[in-house]
Symmetry: C2
Subunit: 357 residues, 2 copies
C-alpha cells in the first residue's frame, strides 16, 4: 500500500514516543528511516522497526540515552552512545564532527556503545549543507567471510561519502563493502531465485548459488567475490571500516558485533561495548575556495556524465543520482510499503496503543 | 639476476644525482622504490626508472622542486609539488600530515602538481613509527572504465591504510580499486595467458579475455567487475580517491591525469595541475590510549588469524603479511631483477655516465 512520507513519519514518531523516546529523538530516528524509504533503500526503512521494538523490549536499546564524549582532541572524539538507537548516537557524532571541523578544518569521531543506525548516507549528507565533505561508516553483525575464511568475521560494513557540487546535485556514494546486501539475498530467496556466482559461499567455503545459505553456516563474500577477482581488497575495506568504527572507539569488532535483531543473542565475553561507527567532516574551504571547488566538481560530474557508454546504457551514473530520483518521485507519489510489513507495524501499534497505519 | 638492496640503492642514488636531484631527495626516491622491490611489488620498483628518466628528459619531472603549501588550516593543507618526483611531494605531504596531527589529533593533505609516487603503502606506513594511523591515496592515468562507460575515466587509484598493532606487526592494506593492476595484465600478455573474466572490457564495453586489450581501446574494470557484482562500488571508490586527490588539491582529475610515461602526451586544456595525492595521519591517542588500542588490535589480528579456513588455505591473511614476509626474505637473499630491466638500466647508466649494475 502507498503511504505519504508524512503519514509514515507520524506513525514512527508515535511509536518511538510510546517506547519512551523524547519527541526530539523520535523525529531524528524517523528522519533517518524516512530518508531510506524515500531513497528506495527499503531494507533500511520502516521494516526495521519490528527489530528495534524487540531490541528495546530486551533492553538492548535505551530510549533515553545519556550520550557522552569519552575523550577528545581538537579534531577527534570518542563518543559513547549509551546503548541508544544508532541514529541518536550517529546524529550526535556527525554534529560533533561538523562543529569541530568548523574550528580546525576536519574532524573524526569514533562511536561505541551504539546500535543499528540505518543508512550511512544520511549522516554523510548532513555535512553538505555546511559546505563540508561528509564521511560515515559503521560495522555490523558478522555475515561476511574474509578471503580464505569459512567463519563469518565482518559485517557488510558500509562506507558513505558525500561531496558538495555547484549547479549539480552532490556526489553521494553509499555502499556495502560486499557485492550485495543481506536484504537482497532474502528477496531472492523469497522469489525462489538463485544467487549469482560470487555472492555467497557455503559453510565449507565452496561457491554457492543458494540465497538462503546464511541460515546453514554460509557467508556473504567480500566485494570482488573471490581472490582471483580481488576479494582480498573487499576484505581490506571491510576490515578498515571495522577497525575505525570499533577498535578506535572501544566498540565490539569483527565477529563480536552484537546482532541487530533481538532473536539472536549477544555473545558473552565481548571485547568492547555495543556497535561502532566512524564519522568525518572536512571543510571544503580548508583545502580550496568553496566556489572554485564546486565549479571543479561540476566539471568532474559533466566529464563523467558525458562519457561514451556501452550500447545498453544511456549514461554513466553519478553516485547518488538514482537514489535522488527516487526521493523526488516518492515524496510526490508516496512510498509503497509491503502488506506483510504493514501487518507487523499494525500489530505493534496495537501492543503500544498507538494509531495503526 | 639477484642484487642486494644496497647495490640497487647505490645505482638509484647515482642515477638520480646525475639527473640533478639532491642527495637527500635521491635517498627518499630510492627508499620508496627499494621498499617496493623488497615487498615484491616489482611493478613499482626499479623498472619505473626508465619512465622517470624519460619524463625528466621531457621536463615533466623537476629534479629540483620548490614544494610549497598553497593553503592550510590546523588540520589540513594543499601542497603544490612543483612537478617533483611524486616521492618528494609524497614524503613532504605525509611529514606535514604527521606534524599537524601531533598538534590537533589528525591531519589531511591534498597534493597537486606531482607525479607518479610509487607504492602508496610507503607513505601510509610512515605514520606507524609515530603511533599514528596513516592513510594514502593517489589518482593515476586513466585506464579504468566506470560501470556502463566505454571511456577510460579513472586510474587504478590505490588506497593504503597502515594501522599500528602491539606484539604483532602492523595492519597494512595497500590495494588498487580494480580487480587487477596494469602490470599484471602486461605479464599475462607476455606469457600469452588469457585474462580471467571480470578484469577487462573491449572498446565497446564488452567482456574480454585479452590482457592486451588496453592497446586497442579497451579498459580495466572497477573492483567488482560488472554491475551485477558491485562494480559500481569499485567505481565509487576510484572516484572518491580521484576527488580527494585532485579536486580538493587542484590537480588533474579523471581522464585528464597526465600519463606517467613520456611516450604518451599530456592533454591540452587541462583542468588542473599535474597528478594528485591525498594523505592523512590520525594519532591513535586522539581516540584511545595507545597501549589499549594496540592490545585490541592484537586481539583483532588473533581473531582473524585463528578463524576457520577453507580446505585450500591454512589461515586468513592479515593485510600486509605477505609483503612483510617478502621484505624479510629479500633483505636477506637479495632482489631478483629481470634481465630486460637490467639491460635498460645499464643503457641509462651509459647515457648518464654512472656505474652500471
Amino acid at each position: 500500500m502507498i503511504y505519504s512520507y508524512q503519514r509514515l513519519e507520524s506513525y514512527i514518531i508515535d511509536l518511538l514516543q510510546s517506547m519512551g523516546c523524547s519527541k526530539y529523538d523520535s523525529k531524528i530516528i524517523s528522519d533517518v528511516l524516512i530518508k531510506a524509504e524515500l531513497r528506495n533503500i527499503s531494507s533500511h526503512g520502516v521494516s526495521r522497526l519490528k527489530d528495534y521494538v524487540n531490541l528495546w523490549k530486551t533492553k538492548r536499546i535505551n530510549p533515553n540515552p545519556d550520550i557522552s564524549i569519552v575523550h577528545e582532541t581538537l579534531s577527534t572524539a570518542v563518543v559513547d552512545g549509551d546503548s541508544s538507537f544508532g541514529m541518536i548516537a550517529g546524529e550526535y557524532a556527525m554534529n560533533l564532527a561538523i562543529k569541530k571541523a568548523e574550528k580546525v578544518g576536519t574532524a573524526w569521531i569514533s562511536v561505541r556503545n551504539s546500535n543499528h543506525f540505518g543508512i550511512a548516507g544520511y549522516y554523510a549528507m548532513k555535512a553538505l549543507e555546511h559546505d563540508m565533505i561528509g564521511i560515515c561508516m559503521t560495522n555490523a553483525n558478522p555475515l561476511v567471510a574474509p578471503t580464505f575464511s569459512v567463519d563469518r568475521l565482518l559485517g557488510t560494513n558500509p562506507i558513505a561519502v558525500a561531496i558538495p557540487a555547484g549547479k549539480y546535485p552532490p556526489f553521494v556514494a553509499d555502499f556495502a563493502t560486499t557485492p550485495i546486501a543481506r536484504g537482497k539475498l532474502d528477496l531472492m530467496h523469497k522469489k525462489a531465485d538463485k544467487a549469482p556466482e560470487g555472492y555467497v559461499q557455503d559453510k565449507d567455503g565452496r561457491p554457492s548459488n543458494d540465497p538462503n545459505i546464511l541460515t546453514s553456516g554460509g557467508a556473504i563474500l567480500p566485494l570482488g567475490g573471490d581472490y582471483l577477482h580481488g576479494s582480498h581488497k573487499g576484505y581490506c575495506l571491510g576490515a578498515i571500516v571495522d577497525i575505525f568504527s570499533a577498535v578506535l572507539s572501544g566498540a565490539n569488532f569483527g565477529p563480536f558485533v552484537p546482532p541487530s535483531v533481538a532473536y539472536l543473542p549477544v555473545l558473552e565475553n565481548q571485547p568492547g561495548i555495543g556497535t561502532g561507527h566512524f564519522m568525518g567532516a572536512m571543510r571544503i574551504d580548508a583545502f580550496q575556495k568553496a566556489d572554485e571547488f564546486k565549479a571543479q566538481m561540476d566539471l568532474w560530474i559533466e566529464t563523467f556524465k558525458n562519457a561514451k557508454t556501452d550500447s545498453y546504457h544511456e549514461s554513466v551514473i553519478i553516485p547518488g543520482e538514482p537514489e535522488r530520483e527516487w526521493e523526488i518521485k516518492n515524496m510526490k507519489n508516496g512510498i509503497n510499503i509491503l502488506d506483510k510489513i504493514i501487518e507487523d507495524l499494525n500489530i505493534i501499534a496495537l501492543e503500544q496503543n498507538i494509531n495503526p497505519l
